[in-house]
Amino acid sequence: MYKRTRFYDFTYYNFIGSWAWILHRLAGLALIFYLSLHIWVINSLTYGEKTFNDVMTFLSSPLFKLLEVGLWSVILFHAFNGVRIVIVDFFKGSLAHKKLFVVLIAAAFALWALGSYVLLRHAF
């Protein structure tokens, strides 16, 4: 009997792979939302030098730098868990998917620290 998937069935979330799955989806939702905003805002950079400078000044405030660090975290999680998905699907990675998760997230965390330092170094 076909059973409908419901997002509040918390029995799915007891394992590392389930958490990776739900976080990957939430990160993906956040990223498509951001991408839409990004495409709109970048368009305003083409209305001459004054508009360009106004928008860039607005986007260089500490608040936006912090949001950019948040964006960088979401991107890294989604990208590195995505690598795990590709390895699992194409290279028999399911045999070691939990180890892969730990290793890839550690690599992502290192890049996160490096990138966040670069972003925040002159922000405050």
Partner: protein, 124 residues
């Protein structure tokens, strides 16, 4: 419900494969994008002239268009696969699918316009 399920009998395997191919492309392009636009520009004022000069090299429009297309496809196809999991009515599926295609076309148009405008703007 089972009847609805059978009516969408296409397996979706092409979308599945393209999602992974676009993921691998995005992994490279997005890291490149973040390094050049977010890290290398962080902490110093971004000059309008510099941005236009880079935007008017021969490779810029091609790379940006490829990036835009891949990111929009990956994002909207990802959103579609989430919506498919929680929507069983074929009318709702059609409504969501139409909405996603419309959003994709509009954002592709806005983004392409930005690339073309940046390419053709006169450097003062």
């Amino acid at each position: 419900m089972e009847k609805n399920f059978k009516q969408t009998s296409r397996t979706g395997s092409l979308g599945w494969l393209l999602q992974r191919i676009s993921a691998v492309i995005l992994f490279v392009l997005l890291l490149f994008h973040f390094i050049t636009y977010h890290f290398l520009t962080s902490g110093r004022s971004v000059e309008y002239r510099q941005v236009l000069e880079r935007a008017q090299s021969w490779w810029f429009p091609l790379l940006q268009f490829a990036f835009l297309l891949t990111a929009l496809y990956h994002g909207l196809n990802g959103l579609w696969s989430i919506l498919e999991d929680y929507t069983t009515s074929k009318y709702w599926r059609l409504a969501w699918y139409s909405l996603l295609v419309t959003v994709g076309v509009v954002l592709l148009f806005v983004g392409t316009l930005t690339i073309i405008k940046l390419y053709t703007l006169k450097v003062a």
